[in-house]
């Protein structure tokens, strides 16, 4: 073992040096000879027919290489964008996937929908020419609210989806749940909206397509969280290039948060245009395009009813949700409000009866897909606001109500598919209560009151599901892909190691944590281990990084490959040292016969593997092993978050003054990186709770199209966090990892909102709790109930 760098060590991030000195290599940094640039003509209307396109002025514009339209795209048999997870409605009908062409042919369905691509010698010339393209539109009525889109007479976004309904999906036992609610001593009912968010990765999306006519081969450099899946989808569905003639490279990527999982029209168009024009074609979004076209997150409108018996035990939980999926079905959009949402509605609680209905709806807005947490924040927000409100309505301590309903025996089968393998919910709550010094909250509240501030405290006991798996299970639920991960551990003759992983790091620090598990296990220096990812020519295959899966699934694959390497190393050493294989141990950079001074250094074994001079009979030379690891179950990170806020009653301005997180992520590889994930996640959650909101006007214009109107959290919006860990190792994978990438964003919004509603004495509050929203809620609470 090498404890200084192994599991549990706070190793500084290897990759940070190149980022800090400005030497990261992002897609837009890559330049090819003969490179041209794409600019997109986008719809200014939320909904319109495309009547005609006059490209003559653009074609004559300086430096223009080509002006490409949707009609040409269809003629070249480029396929429509697809959603890769099939959902079936309660009546047995399949989801209704409307056609989405990378360039619109006859209709545009949201502001920003791409219509024409202009390829020119420079970005400025491309953009200038794009402004000269004349598109004639016939405007159609638009609808932006999903609830309104379901009303009779609403504008129709896709002809094949009457009433804009994509699917009407259910899970759980409706009759039993309604019966549970009827028998309840108390029922809490709330309407809860989950605000629409823009992902805002620091690096905007970018693509560089290179076509080699001699080989008929394509290379796509792009901002992707999963380049192998991108290659698969681009070749199998979009028909831009055969899989064996397409290399996808996702180099350094500056943040994703889900938005870079998907294939977008721009990458498809660049690949196609590179073949059409014989030029390398690059496109990099500006921030306006990012706001207008990156898949948004959340946007749920929910009515929830939770019943309790006289002792506060939950008797039934019914959730009816309308999910806005925007104008088209993005790659994984359908699974987010279904299998990543309703399956988590049991929370940390032993609930016998749960029923959920989800209606997914088309609107004239940007497509909505997974965003940090993806369905789980929406579920957690509903459950945890319900629990807090119910406790207040029943005059119970909100922590006590939760504790009374906690699941305490594992494994636990919920009524909504999930089987929780392990957890320690009471211990998590206790750790948070202690760390947050809840006992002294009344004194802090009184002190705040003397300063004219309303101080409140709010809880959130979240659970989420990471490492979505196993492949056979997700396949049976409609997934179009398997959800395993692959790794190859290649020990070089000199003993250095290259790890090829199908995970992709776009901020997570894999180059450090992945190396730690190898350095620690074999006792090797960190600098001798390189982590290679993001290139379909170098890595055998991979499913990419999202859903907090890289630790639980990606690292498990590496462990499986390491197991095979170690087994071979032991065989080689046993043979050379003339010892029994079972007596060989690998530690401290050496391969030893246990209990003796006989050993070979690590590099002596690796060299022996490659010289092949003295190997056991029949053994192949070389020292390189791979694995495809398919997990047995999801993992279930969980924890308790406690927020304290102070509200200025005169302005509604809210400050989060304390925030405590007690998380159970199972084994921590690098606690510093884990804490960074928690910090970032909570900041995003506070952003959602207080600030962030995508707003469309009634006619579908994006009102929050820049940072002048879309409010991101800044350093002074967040307090210094108190972070605790409790640990129940995950039994389902070799390292006991549960995943930590999304928890902060999942658990924090309800804690913050519960704290505000506590402070102001009004449970009826929606996100984002901006000053005017909070101020109005304070006034509503002060007003005597109408007609009471």
């Amino acid at each position: 073992m090498n404890d200084a760098v192994g599991i549990g060590a706070r190793v500084k991030r290897k990759e940070d040096r190149r980022f800090i000195i400005g030497s990261g290599r992002y897609t837009d940094d890559i330049r090819h000879d003969n490179q041209a640039y794409a600019a997109f003509v986008r719809s200014p209307h939320a909904h319109a027919k495309v009547v005609g396109i006059d490209a003559s002025a653009a074609e004559a514009s300086e430096g223009v290489v080509a002006v490409l339209t949707g009609r040409q795209l269809v003629d070249d048999k480029i396929g429509n964008l697809i959603c890769g997870w099939a959902i079936t409605s309660r009546d047995g009908t399949p989801m209704k996937m409307g056609p989405w062409s990378a360039l619109a042919t006859d209709r545009v369905r949201y502001v920003g929908d791409a219509v024409v691509a202009v390829i020119a010698d420079t970005p400025a010339l491309a953009r200038r020419a794009a402004e000269k393209v004349v598109v004639e539109y016939e405007e159609l009525p638009a609808v932006v609210s999903a609830t309104r889109a379901l009303e009779p007479g609403a504008p129709q976004v896709h002809d094949l989806a009457p009433g804009n309904l994509i699917f009407d999906w259910v899970i759980g036992d409706e009759a039993a749940t309604d019966a549970g609610l009827r028998q309840a001593a108390h029922v809490t009912e709330m309407r809860i909206t989950n605000n629409r968010l823009s992902p805002n990765a620091m690096e905007p999306r970018s693509a560089l397509a290179v076509y080699d006519p001699a080989e008929g081969h394509y290379t796509l450099y792009t901002t992707s969280q999963n380049p192998h899946v991108a290659r698969l989808v681009l070749s199998a569905f979009y028909n831009v290039a055969p899989e064996n003639k397409l290399r996808v490279v996702a180099p350094d990527v500056g943040g994703g948060f889900g938005s870079k999982i998907y294939i977008y029209p721009e990458e498809i168009t660049c690949l196609w245009a590179s073949m059409k024009t014989g030029r390398s074609v690059k496109w990099t979004a500006d921030r306006s395009e990012a706001f207008m076209t990156d898949a948004h997150g959340r946007d749920h409108d929910t009515v929830a009813r939770m019943g309790f018996d006289k002792d506060g035990r939950i008797t039934g939980f019914r959730v009816d949700t309308v999910a806005n999926l925007g104008a088209y079905m993005s790659l994984f959009s359908s699974c987010v409000p279904t299998y990543l949402y309703a399956t988590l509605l049991s929370g940390q609680y032993d609930i016998g009866n749960i029923f959920c209905n989800v209606k997914a709806v088309y609107t004239n807005t940007v497509p909505v897909d997974a965003y940090r947490g993806a369905g789980r924040p929406e579920a957690c927000y509903v459950i945890e606001r319900m629990m807090e409100t119910a406790a207040r309505e029943m005059n119970m301590n909100p922590a006590e109500l939760r504790r009374r309903n906690f699941i305490t025996q594992f494994p636990h089968q919920t009524p909504v598919i999930m089987n929780y393998d392990t957890g320690g919910f009471g211990a998590g709550l206790d750790a948070a209560l202690r760390a947050a010094d809840v006992a002294s909250f009344p004194a802090r509240k009184a002190e705040a009151a003397r300063r004219g501030k309303l101080r409140g405290i709010g809880y959130s006991c979240y659970i989420e599901a990471c490492g979505i798996a196993p492949s056979a299970a997700v396949g049976s639920l409609g997934a179009g892909v398997g959800l395993w991960e692959s790794a190859e551990v290649r020990v070089n003759p000199v003993g250095t190691i290259e790890v090829f992983t199908g995970s992709h790091s776009h901020g997570q620090g894999h180059e450090t944590t992945f190396a730690q598990i190898i350095a620690g296990r074999f006792g090797l220096p960190m600098e001798n281990i390189s982590i290679i990812h993001g290139d379909t020519d170098r890595v055998q295959f991979g499913m990419g990084t999202y859903g907090s899966r890289s630790g639980a699934v990606g690292m498990s694959a590496i462990v499986k490959a390491m197991d095979k390497v170690e087994a071979k190393v032991k065989k080689i050493a046993a043979h050379a040292l003339e010892a029994a294989e079972d007596d060989i141990v690998v530690e401290g950079g050496a391969v030893k016969v246990a209990g003796t001074d006989r050993q070979m250094l690590w590099h002596e074994v690796s060299l022996a593997a490659y010289t092949g001079h003295n190997l056991p009979a029949g053994m192949e030379p070389g020292l390189k092993e791979d694995s495809f690891y398919d997990p047995v179950n999801f993992t279930f990170p969980a924890g308790t978050y406690i927020a304290e806020v102070e509200v200025d009653p005169d302005t509604g301005v809210t400050e989060v003054v304390r925030f405590t997180a007690a998380d159970d992520f199972g084994t921590l590889i690098n606690p510093m990186i884990v804490e960074g994930q928690v910090h970032g996640g909570i900041a995003q959650g506070i952003g959602q709770a207080l600030l962030e909101n995508v707003v469309y006007s009634e006619n579908g214009q994006l009102m929050t199209g820049s940072y002048m109107d879309y409010a991101m959290p800044r350093a002074d919006h967040v307090p210094s966090y108190t972070i605790e860990h409790t640990t129940t190792p995950c039994p389902g994978n070799p390292l006991g990892i549960k995943g930590c990438g999304e928890a902060g964003a999942i658990g924090s919004p309800p804690a913050v909102i519960n704290a505000i509603t506590d402070a102001i004495g009004n449970n009826d509050l929606q996100m984002p709790a901006t000053p005017p929203v909070v101020w109005a809620a304070i006034r509503a609470a002060a007003r005597p109930a109408a007609a009471a």
Partner: protein, 263 residues
């Protein structure tokens, strides 16, 4: 950004000569350059006046503070003379944008743009300042004429702003959550010419004087004097960040705090 020709004149006269046709003054560019990047503006020429020595610097005496038009917000915020003579003005400048904006943006650029949520218009109007141009002097009461519009004529260049030193003044601001412009910004001042209250961020026609607040403060320059006052909503804007009713309440609250912090 469309192609443009950049000029760096060394005098106001040279700058004035360069201002013809589609030329624009560049006085920090914290609004103009983003607009150009978005292709919302495409001036043929940019006349950068920030290096003109005559437009820079701060002069203060017992009765007035004069700030050159090309003086940055950072220079105003950190000026010992201004902190002593009109601390509210230094506070206001220190709350504009972020450090990057404050080190580049200028007072002349800000008021010539007259963004309805900018801080300086409230500073000038509340303190009863005078705008000095290469042609004349314009009282703040006459200078701000509506959303993004001023009394400046074509080719007229602001050279300085002169602030009379008030008996006391206070500036408070409710920041716009995204842009950090003023959602509500209020300058209150007790001046030789009476009490003045100017409000930015809220007026549907830009910065304005809140006469109902001025009347109450003229009787008693105390926060409690404003307690019962309701601000009319008819001249206030409603947008996704706050409706008129919210702004009306906030104007009174922020004015009270400005009175409380006035010195």
């Amino acid at each position: 950004m469309y192609a443009t020709t950049y000029h760096r004149p060394s005098s106001v006269e040279e700058a004035a000569r360069l201002l013809s046709g589609e030329a624009k003054i560049l006085a920090g560019g914290q609004t103009l350059l983003p607009a150009m990047k978005l292709h919302l503006a495409g001036p043929s020429d940019l006349v950068d006046i920030r290096r003109i020595g005559a437009l820079k610097g701060i002069k203060a005496d017992r009765s007035a503070v004069t700030i050159g038009a090309a003086t940055t917000h950072f220079e105003v915020a950190s000026s010992p003379d201004i902190r002593k003579a009109i601390p509210a003005l230094a506070t206001l400048a220190g709350w504009i944008g972020d450090p990057a904006v404050r080190h580049v943006g200028t007072i002349g650029g800000s008021i010539a743009n007259n963004d309805p949520a900018a801080d300086y218009p409230a500073g000038l109007l509340g303190l009863g300042a005078t705008v000095v141009t290469n042609q004349r002097e314009i009282a703040a009461d006459d200078f701000f004429t509506g959303l993004f519009s001023t009394a400046l004529e074509d080719g007229e260049i602001i050279t300085a702003v002169r602030f009379p030193v008030p008996k006391r003044a206070g500036y408070e601001k409710l920041r716009h959550p995204a842009s950090r412009f003023a959602l509500v910004g209020v300058m209150v001042a007790e001046t030789a010419g009476g009490v003045r209250v100017a409000v930015t961020g809220s007026g549907s026609d830009g910065v304005f004087r809140a006469t109902e607040l001025e009347a109450a403060l003229a009787k008693s320059f105390t926060a409690s004097a404003l307690a019962g006052i309701t601000i009319a909503t008819d001249r206030l804007m409603s947008d996704i960040h706050g409706d008129a009713a919210y702004r009306a309440n906030a104007i009174r609250v922020i004015a009270q705090r400005a009175v409380g912090s006035a010195k």
